[in-house]
């Protein structure tokens, strides 16, 4: 491999490329650094010297947001909704993915066609009818409705992804389990789950990011202020405190923190999901 690399470009030319890439990376890193630095200072201090480091570091903005402006509650709400949605998606998608990958299914073509055809459905098309359907069921403003929507919109890709993952499990292994007398659930738990483990983990991370970051449905389906999720709370804080950038920056960092931690610790899984995203 190292041979073919050096045949591509003169090794001396790699330094300018490296420096150029560092500059590009800086356009991504610096705004985030600026947000974090700004969030750790008072508004007066920010206005005095916005580009310097804080003259006095403080976590007041975080405390104020978390305790007084409902961000703490919203954070917990988002965590609850995201974790519940992801768990449900994983359970349903594992069942369906395993069946579609390895078991005979009645009219399986039609099931697959349904999942694939709604996979790229844009959210705006759904907002009016989903609102009306949930209103008819009486679950607008209820987490049950929002979670149902997240599960429904997440499932098509999840099933597609896990079907591909589970197809790679050797049939002999499943056959051996069947001969040993393992039933459906036993096979699923002791063979499919561990064999498809990294695929399931990738999916869990991607779906968590998706629900944690979602804005439209969180905005329109949960009107009650006490139940609001984090992204709508953040955007209303951004609108309310236009002139207090340190305060809104703290809100930004609180919202971004969870995905950033995931990227730091699970980048392996996220990068793997990327490849599948392409084959879609």
């Amino acid at each position: 491999m190292s041979d073919s690399i050096s045949s591509r470009l003169n090794p001396r030319a790699k330094w300018p490329i490296f420096i150029g890439m560092c500059l590009v990376a800086a356009t991504i890193i610096y705004p985030l650094f600026f947000v974090v630095a700004t969030s750790l200072r008072s508004n007066v201090d920010y206005k005095r010297d916005p580009f310097g480091l804080p003259s006095e570091w403080t976590i007041d903005n975080y405390l104020k947001l978390w305790n007084e402006y409902g961000v703490g509650r919203a954070f917990m709400n988002s965590l609850f909704v995201s974790l519940t949605s992801v768990t449900l998606i994983l359970v349903f998608a594992t069942l369906a993915g395993y069946a579609l990958a390895k078991l005979p299914v009645f009219a399986s073509k039609y099931f697959t066609a349904t999942f694939v055809s709604v996979m790229l459905l844009p959210g705006p098309v759904l907002i009016i009818p989903i609102y009306l359907v949930l209103a008819r069921l009486g679950i607008v403003g209820d987490y049950a409705g929002l979670i149902l929507v997240y599960v429904a919109t997440g499932l098509p890709f999840a099933i597609f992804f896990l079907t591909l993952t589970f197809r790679a499990i050797p049939d002999e292994l499943l056959e051996a389990a069947r001969v040993d007398g393992a039933g459906f659930y036993r096979t699923l738990w002791s063979i499919v789950r561990p064999m498809g483990g990294s695929g399931i983990a990738t999916l869990a991370v991607l779906q968590f990011l998706g629900t944690w970051n979602e804005l439209i449905f969180a905005l329109i389906l949960i009107p009650n202020a006490k139940m609001k999720l984090l992204t709508p709370t953040l955007s209303s804080i951004g609108k309310r405190f236009l002139t207090d950038q340190p305060l809104t920056s703290a809100g930004l960092f609180i919202t971004a923190m969870v995905p950033l931690l995931l990227l730091a610790f699970a980048s392996k899984y996220i990068m793997r999901g990327l490849q599948v995203g392409l084959s879609r």
């Binding site: 069942l95 907002i127 955007s235």
Partner: protein, 285 residues
């Protein structure tokens, strides 16, 4: 065998019911609503009235035009992504680390990215503060539609180019290295190889990225518009998906919003078909 067929079907059924009930059915329902005048409680059949009203609605015209303005972001994102992917492909020291950095904006919510840009261009935001270092007066960027559109495009480029450069990189890595070696032996220089081997070999991936960008500007700008400009000034930065939201929750006729959503849906369906068609054609040659 029959037994396991039953089990398999039962395993798919819960997912199918949820997806059919909360995605497939709502789309059909939206189609029905679009032919009615409704407030969500009573439905009054109106035939094509909502669609005809859309055709003659100046706001709808403007909003479609706005969407086309946002298409400026497409070549910008692709160009930035292409340059980055070609440079990443040289696999210099630490390129894997850069991959993670480039992916970073992609894990952030549109609410977060939008607000970062809204803050940066706010009255006492970083951009004005920076211009002040050169003695410029602070500007109200968001009362000017050209600036507002530019800022949203900037947010699109900033948040999109990294991920797309990784998609293009995946395409580059799939090229057989022997082709490069053969060209190098034949004495083809770096630029020559870029034009004659690298770019032609990833034109399929470039095509894919091109289409997803167009789809994105038509169907997924809601978050940025909502957080950065709220559609203003006037309707100058309102996109189709944002107008669907505005019509849905501020007017007494949901049918009109639904009709707009259906038009958007048809447009996106058409683009997706076109994408499949283009990819099939390329597979044949």
């Amino acid at each position: 065998m029959r037994q396991s067929k039953l089990i398999g079907t039962l395993a798919v059924l819960p997912s199918f019911i949820i997806v059919a009930g909360f995605m497939a059915f709502p789309v059909m329902f939206a189609l029905y609503i679009s032919f009615t005048k409704t407030n969500g409680l009573t439905y009054e059949w109106r035939g094509l009235d909502n669609y005809i009203a859309l055709l003659t609605d100046p706001i709808v015209h403007q909003v479609f035009l706005n969407n086309f303005k946002f298409l400026i972001s497409v070549p910008l994102v692709i160009f930035a992504a292409l340059v980055c992917s070609i440079l990443l492909f040289e696999q210099f020291k630490g390129w894997k680390f850069f991959r993670v950095i480039f992916f970073l904006p992609n894990v952030l919510s549109v609410a977060v990215i939008g607000l970062i840009f809204r803050n940066a261009f706010g009255y006492d935001g970083a951009v004005n503060q920076f211009l002040a270092l050169f003695g410029a007066e602070p500007k109200q960027f968001f009362i000017d539609s050209n600036y507002s559109i530019f800022i949203i495009i900037l947010a699109l480029v900033w948040s999109g180019f990294g991920y797309q450069s990784l998609l293009l990189l995946a395409g580059l890595t799939a090229i057989n290295p022997a082709v490069f070696e053969a060209a190098a032996i034949d004495g083809a220089g770096w630029w020559r190889r870029l034009w004659s081997i690298t770019l032609p070999n990833i034109r399929k991936v470039i095509g894919f990225v091109f289409i997803i960008n167009i789809l994105y500007t038509f169907a997924s700008l809601f978050g940025f518009v909502f957080v950065i400009t709220a559609g203003g000034p006037g309707y100058e930065t309102t996109t189709i998906d944002f107008l669907v939201y505005l019509r849905a929750f501020s007017s007494n006729n949901l049918g009109s919003g639904a009709a707009l959503a259906v038009v958007l849906f048809l447009f996106i369906g058409l683009m997706t078909l076109l994408q499949n068609r283009v990819f099939k054609l390329q597979k044949d040659d």
